[in-house]
């Protein structure tokens, strides 16, 4: 066919040529994520299915978090990316490099200076503020997976708010080990309705989502589910009346770099059979060291104080 000058050609209808769109995803992919995020905020803890696009990193390496970040981000943002609490972890460095390459946004290692934080397996130690978004990467969004691998049945259980099997699992741990031995990904009830996996953050980090000032988006790219904990929303780890939820015991651990106590620590085995401890939140550690040298802002208030007390009084028994 021949096109007259006024007829748009296919080339005209395609986007203006840049090697890539801003933030890599095209508008249609972003809209899918954006519609999904809005639904997720309106239904705290409910897993919204979405059409997860392939992005230029492998599935299972934060593609869900990355799609959320790319759909949220704009030129005014400041981005922080962490993996296991560290900004310099190779995967965090890779994701930060990619987003930065595709947007040119400013990046930071300071949790309270970022507008947008993408994280794998940690919530920062300093209290996040009201205009901040935390995007958590989620390998497995289904808290019921270990008790019901069939996702159709699990969905029905969520619909019925039928979490009996989950309670039974915790009870069986109690009987077998004398305590609940769930490590990370501790199942938690959001807004009194949906049980979520908070992603494999340690138990230390789960309370930080409760009545938080910031917005948390949890996105599983491979499993194609996205859910959210809005600011000021109840998040309650499942606990029995007589067996309270317990965070990881940090008592007696001192960060060998900063001298800080009562924060989530990495244990570093030593040749002589002992172990050193360091802050898992590397950006917080950096801030403490730099502030001590008069080279940067002072660290802000943390969720747990130096005595290990959580900032919402009475929340942890």
């Amino acid at each position: 066919m021949t096109a007259t000058p006024s007829t748009p050609t296919l080339k005209d209808l395609a986007h203006q040529w840049q090697d890539h769109s801003y933030a890599f995803l095209d508008e249609s992919s972003k809209r899918e994520l954006r519609r999904t995020m809005l639904k997720a905020v309106a239904l705290p803890g409910y897993q919204v299915p979405y059409a997860s696009r392939e992005v230029p990193i492998a599935r299972g390496w934060g593609t869900g978090g990355l799609q959320a970040t790319l759909s949220l981000i704009g030129p005014k943002d400041t981005l922080k990316v962490i993996d296991q609490g560290a900004d310099d972890s190779v995967n965090a460095a890779n994701l930060r490099r990619f987003v930065s390459r595709m947007t040119g946004v400013a990046t930071t290692t300071d949790a309270t200076a970022a507008t947008l934080i993408q994280s794998r397996h940690r919530v920062p130690e300093e209290i996040l503020g009201e205009r901040q978004v935390l995007v958590l990467q989620v390998p497995d969004p289904e808290p019921l997976r270990s008790v019901e691998p069939d996702i159709s049945i699990a969905r029905q259980m969520h619909a019925d708010a039928d979490y009996g099997l989950m309670w039974l699992k915790l009870y069986e741990q109690l009987v077998r080990y004398g305590r609940i031995v769930q490590g990370a990904s501790y199942p938690s009830l959001v807004h009194g309705r949906y049980v979520i996996s908070p992603s494999p953050i340690p138990r230390w980090d789960v309370p930080k989502l409760h009545q938080a000032r910031h917005l948390t988006i949890l996105s599983a790219g491979r499993e194609k589910r996205l859910y959210a904990v809005p600011p000021y929303t109840d998040v309650r780890p499942l606990e029995f009346d007589d067996i309270p939820y317990a965070v990881e015991d940090q008592s007696g651990h001192t960060c060998f770099r900063t001298g800080v106590t009562q924060k989530f620590m990495n244990e570093l085995p030593q040749d002589d059979g002992s172990a050193l401890f360091e802050l898992s939140d590397a950006g917080y550690g950096e801030k403490i060291l730099n502030a001590a040298e008069g080279d940067g802002p002072a660290p802000e208030r943390t969720y747990f104080n130096d005595e290990g007390r959580f900032y919402h009084d009475g929340y942890l028994k």
Binding site: V90, A92, N94, P139, A184, A282
Partner: protein, 365 residues
Amino acid sequence: MAYVAARGGENAIIESEQLFHDLNGPLTAEKVRVIMETVPYLLDRVMGEASLYAPELAALAIAQSGGELYEAALLLRAYRTTQPRLEYAAVTEQGEMLTVRRISAAFKDIPGGQVLGPTLDYSHRVLNLGVLTGEGAVRHEATPAPEAAQPTYPALADWQRKVGLLPEVTPDTRTGHSVPDLTREPLLFPPARAHELQGLARADTGGLLTLGYSIMRGYGLIHPTVNEVRLGYAEVNLTHPATGVAFSAGRVRVSQAEIVTEFAGDSKTPELALGFCATLGWNEVKVIAGGTLDMNMQKAADHGEKHPAHTPEFVLYHTETVEASGFCIHFKLPHYVTFQSALDAMRQVRGNPQGVNLPGSEVPA
């Protein structure tokens, strides 16, 4: 010098990528051209799994990934994500496809005839060592048939429907945007039929073979017969979004298989049941395995049985090439936070919450 949390990681990953490419030699247009011209079945496999028909880009992806096919498929899929969807192609009917190979195991001869076409099925699997010892290039030239074969052939299933061996189907008349699209919608269960077929079309070839073979070998509900395997070229017929003029954007290589089984339906009037799989590119293993899985997934409900390979959720999730391979390699990522959390829980049970470094903490034997 201030302490910086983002210190070594970034340099390390840049250098490790350099090293990978360094060991594979330079990436050149010539290399891409050679790949494109010499290994069409490899391109087909990658394009099928990527669900993006673009031989030149597939050759580039293969060259750029050094032949790591999971990486190549991911490169293409990630590229696909960035492309706008301007229009939906019209439905291609089996009977309209330019067919170069079409065989049936169910009948000695079929309407339109068996067309053997290009295949290695009857080759002697003997390495052509002479090529290496200086006998020069080996050229194969097929002898033209005295009469040109007909370009199109009807579907065998149509004949079986006409004679009542297969149940009549109500044709799905949806077109364009109203056809469910797995790349634009989440996969939910039970899956839309279109989603299931699309999932098989872009599945990992090896994954479909493994699960399909498990059924063929002994875990199947029913015995598969290859009703028809077909290789051909399908027109990509589009309507110009602005002018409304219909045109063909070109032809793509496609393969498809119909798999049938006997004694489906009720016991008084048993009939055949049909499984189907099609994919971009020529890949007979994939469509035969996929068609067999499709038939079993459809029939599993009737049999009330639940072998994993009969279950859409199991088959479609676990053969998703990019997801399965990505999750597999993600276990290389550090998991020390989750490990630390589990260690804490374990030490609590052992009555040694602070770990090994505290004097006086005794680990029970």
